[in-house]
Symmetry: C2
Subunit: 161 residues, 2 copies
DNA sequence: CTTGAACCTACAGTCGCTGTAGCTCCCATA
DNA sequence: TATGGGAGCTACAGCGACTGTAGGTTCAAG
């Protein structure tokens, strides 16, 4: 009974199954473990990782949240909240709101950029490099329609402190 | 005469002046030198870098192009073109077009994300974590409006090969 | 028993910087 | 001319979120 129950209630996946089922790469799973985002799983006699359903769910959450663009530290906070299901979700919503704000800020910056780049291309007569509108605008901010340039973020969602 | 001419025609800036005039950080200038984006400048007897007008212009170009979000390897190509001013600007325009395409792709992905995140927040009744719409959507792609998730780019502008 | 896929650890590389430690240099003022 | 302090120097680690590689071990099918 104990054995049968154990077998049916706790499936044991090797890391490759976890990867396939969640769409994550094997290395990424090990990376998440190394930074403490996933707990250390059980191991076989031969030292290979074996996961249960809860780990699969947890990784699924992480993957889905990453698909939404949440940075890992936000995901860590969200996971902590799922461990306290009776608590208020205000904090969770706040994390989502912050992320949404960041996404909107990024959209704004990129749209400004889109305008600038489009104008560059439109107004170039496509002759020599010396006459190239794009090259000339880049050489000289005076020729530039933007009065200033907001930095385009290269690192994902970290708001500037 | 030689001295006077030299003094007036070739100003010699220390690295800090270059940084101030272009809005770049000193370390960034040294980094650009280390990756070969800026040539090695002259040095004083005490081994300190001294720059001339051409270096200042080159760094200005790099800074401005970075403000437009161009990745460094694209900037490298654009700088190579400014050394051949009589050549056709087709290649330069192509680089700009590629970048514009990338910017538009990013905007698209972020707008999809914006919609998803907005819906999450709107449809949450702000009760417990267990009932939180955001947490539940993240826990289960079935509850998710998106049929699939395009990855949100974390690394700038490099098109997937 | 053999093969080969899957797994293991450890570490380097990506991109574009930024920050730090521990020096040396330069210039203005006293 | 001495001195103080700001500016410069090299070298290296760290960021975020992985990805790739080398060189080995384990496991399950045939
Ligand atoms: Zn052109
Ligand atoms: Zn400009
Ligand atoms: Zn909520
Ligand atoms: Zn989904």
């Amino acid at each position: 009974m104990t054995e049968a129950a154990t077998n049916t209630t706790t499936p044991r996946y090797p890391i490759g199954d976890l990867a396939r089922q969640t769409g994550t790469k094997v290395q990424t799973i090990r990376y998440y473990e190394s930074i403490g985002l996933l707990p250390q799983p059980a191991r076989t006699a031969g030292n290979q990782r074996v996961y249960g359903q809860d780990q699969l769910d947890r990784l699924g959450f992480i993957k889905h949240a990453r698909d939404f663009g949440f940075p890992l530290d936000a995901i860590r906070e969200l996971l902590d909240m799922t461990d306290r299901p009776a608590a208020s979700c205000v904090e969770a919503d706040e994390i989502v709101r912050r992320h949404l704000g960041e996404v909107r800020r990024r959209i704004g910056r990129l749209q400004a950029l889109e305008g600038e780049l489009g104008r560059m291309l439109e107004s170039c007569s496509h002759g020599t490099v010396a006459d190239c509108r794009a090259i000339n605008v880049l050489s000289d901010h005076e020729k530039c329609c933007a009065t200033s340039h907001e930095p385009v973020e290269t690192i994902p969602y970290r708001a500037p402190d």
